[in-house]
């Protein structure tokens, strides 16, 4: 599903590379936590998967494709097979919940019939059945994140990328979101989640990848957030 072969990434005007010689493989259907302090390279790791950035050296394969050799105009096609969720939800405040989900389907050219069928389905799935006509501003943070997850999942992606999806939520709400992500994972979707939330990582007991100063320092199946230093 995802393979990194000695991938390094350095940004211009920065002495230290953001990623240094990272090699790893994530299989289909896995649930992976990506941990590490701020500036450890987590975001760069995710941006490379989404091909918002290209690796400076090494190879990144996502969904069987070598991203370095993927031409620009094919990137949107690739991104349609990926779902993304962020800490700040990224919803459109002037559109209703249903329209937010529908927007993602409209812009990739889905037919109106398909959209009308998919939107209630996927909102049901994330536990927001019946809230289709509410505005995002009227919802709680947890509910807004569920809308974002519904939007990411509407196109049934093979891979879900989540960048600190619980970062803005209280512990109890976070648990609900994690249950939802776990359920999505059980449908066969691979989930890669960057997080700072120790409690969640320790509870879920999934594979943990830890980055430190751009290096891969730990790759542990059924791991915990971190060693006690």
């Amino acid at each position: 599903m995802i393979r990194f072969d000695s991938v390094s990434k350095s940004y211009p005007k920065q002495n230290r590379p953001a990623l240094r010689d990272v090699s790893l493989e994530i299989e289909r259907g896995e649930f992976v936590f990506l941990v590490g302090s701020s500036g450890s390279g987590k975001s760069t790791f995710l941006r490379l998967i989404l091909r918002e950035e290209r690796a400076s050296s090494g190879q990144v394969h996502v969904l069987g494709k070598d991203l370095a050799r993927l031409s620009n105009w094919k990137v949107p096609q690739m991104r349609r097979q990926l779902g993304t969720v962020f800490q700040d939800f990224r919803l459109l405040g002037n559109k209703t919940v249903g329209e937010n989900v529908a927007f993602a389907l409209e812009v990739i050219g889905k037919s109106r019939g398909q959209i009308r069928k998919t939107v209630p389905e996927v909102l049901d799935l994330v536990g927001l059945g019946g809230k289709e006509d509410r505005m995002p501003g009227e919802l709680s943070g947890g509910e807004q994140q569920r809308v974002a997850i519904a939007r990411a999942f509407a196109n049934r992606p093979m891979l879900l990328i989540a960048d600190e999806p619980t970062g803005n939520l209280d512990p109890q709400t976070s648990v609900g979101i994690m249950k939802l992500l776990d359920r999505i994972n059980r449908t066969g979707t691979t989930v890669v989640m960057a997080t700072h939330d120790q409690q969640i990582v320790d509870q879920m007991r999934k594979r943990v990848i830890e980055l430190e100063m751009g290096r891969l320092v730990r790759d542990q199946s059924r791991g915990v957030y971190g060693y006690q230093h």
Binding site: N72, W73, I108, G109
Partner: protein, 301 residues
Amino acid sequence: MRAQFVLSEIGVGLRRNLTMTFAVIVSVALSLALAGGSLLAQEQVSTMKGYWYDKVQVSLYLCNKNDAGASCAKGAVTEQQKSAIKADLNKLDVVEKVYYESADEAYKHYKEQFKDSPLADSLTPDQMQESYRVKLKDPTKYQVLQTAFSGRQGVQEVQDQRKTLEPLFNLLNGMNIAALCVMALMLVVALLLIVNTVRVSAFSRRRETGIMRLVGASSFYIQMPFILEAAIAGLIGAGFACVLLVLGKYFLINNWLQQRIVLINFVGWDAVIKVLPLIVAVGVLMPAVAAFFTLRKYLKV
């Protein structure tokens, strides 16, 4: 691509930037109206030049049977006189080439030049004059011909066409250059406004475009609303420019100049109608292309 979705995006975009859109429309309209005006002025010059203007400098009009005046007192020019005149013309050093225009040819050229004017039907072929049209080696040596042939039997008039038309053409050309300068300036203003409008538009919709990118919308789909927005503003501007030109032709030329200056043949509606599609095409394409290149810089895809 779903047309309805794109259309609603465009509507939202144009309304959000109403003042900027208005500025774009006005500047596009003015610059294109000026461009069309100067095209028509050029057309006017070539209409007025007629058949001979660029080919010869001096015309020797020969007597027609109806002509009055001392040199024509004996009626129409005779074959003998004609060949003598031609021989004398060819003897002169300053003459490069002599063309002969028969009365029928003169009628044909006249009809061509004044085809849009009521004057076209006012003359008959037998009223036309035969003429020698003379190309000079040195156009300033007109005086030589004037002294040699003026008053000669059979020559009704020696005319230096440039002397009568040149000042008018100079004026028209001057106005044309001024119009083109103002147009170039307005065009730059229009382009800068378009670039700025698109930039503001892209910035105010960065959330939407960010999400579109995220879920895998093609760059074409993301850029299309912005490009169409600019093209529509340009189209409206071009529409105003066309209206200005048509009104100008109707009020300034048809209802004013043509009433006062009967002898000049002004540009006709066909010339105006030829210019309009060009204006619309430029009005749509220029903003669209400008938007496209602006987006490459300000809208990461």
